[in-house]
């Protein structure tokens, strides 16, 4: 069986600075991969490369066996890749409902529509007519996830959805994950919170300063291994 997503020896740069150095990973269909790492490890850079916001300077990314070279971001959404970006990035002057409708811009068929999102994310349903700029952090995060779901992705990329949220809100936001997986969606979560990441993932991939320091099944890596890979000690 071929993987849904294959990353081979990928490098990415900001100017001369190497942000990712020969990263390789695979995500099988309907699996959940957690990418963990400290500040500046390159997690967001990896997701931006996958989503098509940033070119890779070397290596290959394949989705369903097809190269994503020169495929622009909006075509990747059409192909089934959606990113919930770091910092939520909602359309502040649009209502919550309009934010969700923009998420459906490509009109990909699938289980998610307004009603399904409202049902899965009560936080979003309560605020559907508000302007996105007027929401709390947790509500914004829920809308950002809802907006990505509206594209009916096969591969959902989540960048630090727990960042800056109270524990009780993090729990609410993560409660939607089982429903997403049940719809057959493959998930790649990026987290600084290792416990949260390991709790939801099948596989884990740890980055440190743009390099892979650990990979393995989430259930069988030991705490010491993770700590060493995470901090590089």
């Amino acid at each position: 069986m071929t993987a849904l997503l294959e990353v081979r020896d990928v490098e990415a740069r900001y100017g001369d600075a190497l942000a990712l150095s020969r990263i390789s990973l695979e995500v099988a269909e309907q699996q959940t991969l957690a990418v963990i790492g400290a500040n500046g490890a390159g997690k967001s850079t990896l997701l931006r490369c996958l989503a098509g916001l940033m070119p890779v300077s070397a290596g290959q990314i394949r989705f369903r066996g097809e190269s994503l070279d020169r495929v622009p971001a909006h075509r990747r959404v059409a192909a089934g890749i959606s990113l919930v970006p770091e910092g939520r990035r909602l359309f502040a002057s649009l209502t919550v409902t309009d934010n969700l409708l923009v998420g459906a811009h490509q009109r990909r068929p699938g289980p998610w529509d307004l009603d399904a999102v409202f049902e899965a994310l009560p936080l979003v349903a309560q605020r559907r007519d508000r302007y996105a700029g007027a929401l709390s952090g947790g509500e914004q995060q829920a809308v950002a996830i809802g907006r990505a779901l509206m594209a009916n992705p096969e591969l959902l990329l989540l960048d630090e959805v727990s960042l800056g949220l109270a524990p009780v809100v993090i729990k609410q936001v993560y409660e939607v994950l089982p429903a997403i997986k049940a719809a057959g969606t493959t998930v790649l979560v990026v987290e600084q919170d290792v416990r949260q990441a390991l709790a939801v993932a099948d596989e884990v991939h740890c980055l440190l300063e743009g390099r892979t320091t650990l990979t393995g099944p989430a259930g069988s890596v030991s705490q010491e291994e993770v700590a060493r890979a995470y901090f590089g000690v």
Binding site: A51, A73, P85, L90, S93, L94, D98, N99, H105
Partner: protein, 288 residues
């Protein structure tokens, strides 16, 4: 002409100015760029209409059926082939490209049409007027005002109700996030520019039937449009109408005081608004 009449005519003139301004405002709102050739494309539209009237014999209103789609297509092409390549974090490349376009259009028109004054003739409509009580209003300026309101209402509906309009607002808020939602921002930019060119074509033709124009009329039209946008508040459709009315009234009242001071009066009111309310009458204060 008494003062009330001057004010009323100014209000109607404001409709025309609003059409000029709305394209400038839309392009700035969506792409954060200023098209310095905005006024010259209006002049270009007026000259194309002139050719269709004098050469082909079309009535002025029918030239819109040709000029508007042609300029819309031209706008899409200009955005995708020229401006898109000049887009960068700095506004300078786009300003230079549009400045160059402005010069090319003016000189091209001068080459073909000479620097004579031209006017699109309407026939009976040129002089028809409507008597309301003691006031006499021109039928044509009234029609132009109605067209302005319809255009603004149409644009408002497009932006709020359609898929592309929603994508346009989203792209204006956060381009990258819109891309992540599946929006092709380059296409959205092209559509925004096409709409801007379509409205400026309408404005150019309608204005060409109201006042005379030459190949070098563009820059002053750009200034009026710019003043209207600032007075009304950036990125506010109905603000454009209010701004147009303020400028139109200021100019006509100025002309009532002294016919030579028409344009100056408009500039003074613009400067006054800029000094007292820099975000415009209807704009939100934008954090720096």
């Amino acid at each position: 002409m008494d003062l009330t009449n001057a004010v009323l005519q100014g209000v109607l003139l404001g409709g025309l100015y609003a059409i000029f301004a709305t394209g400038l405002s839309l392009v700035f709102g969506v792409m954060r760029i200023v098209n310095l050739a905005h006024g010259d494309f209006a002049t270009l539209a007026a000259f194309v209409a002139l050719v269709l009237v004098t050469g082909v014999g079309l009535p002025v209103w029918a030239t819109l059926l040709v000029v508007v789609p042609v300029l819309a297509l031209l706008g899409y092409a200009v955005q995708r082939l020229l401006l898109q390549r000049a887009l960068s974090p700095s506004p300078l490349p786009v300003l230079l490209v549009t400045f160059a376009l402005s010069i090319v259009i003016q000189n091209g028109l001068l080459e073909v049409f000479s620097s004579d004054q031209n006017r699109l003739r309407l026939g009976r409509l040129d002089t028809a007027s409507l008597h309301v009580g003691a006031f006499a209003l021109g039928v044509y300026p009234l029609l132009v005002f109605v067209v302005a309101v319809l255009i603004l209402a149409g644009l408002a509906l497009f932006l709020s109700r359609t898929r592309t309009g929603r994508a346009m607002r989203a792209t204006s808020d956060d381009r990258e996030a819109a891309q992540l939602a599946g929006v092709d921002h380059r296409h959205v930019y092209g559509v925004a520019t096409a709409l801007a060119f379509a409205t400026v074509a309408v404005a150019g033709v309608l204005s060409g039937a109201q006042t005379s124009f030459t190949p070098s009329s563009g820059p002053s039209l750009l200034i009026f449009a710019f003043e209207v946008v600032i007075i009304g508040g950036l990125g506010n459709l109905w603000g454009s109408l209010a701004g147009g009315i303020v400028l139109g009234v200021a100019q006509n009242v100025g002309a009532w005081v002294d016919p030579a001071q028409q344009v100056l009066a408009g500039h003074l009111v613009f400067l006054l608004v800029l000094a007292l309310r820099p975000q415009g009458l209807f704009g939100r204060a934008v954090p720096a």
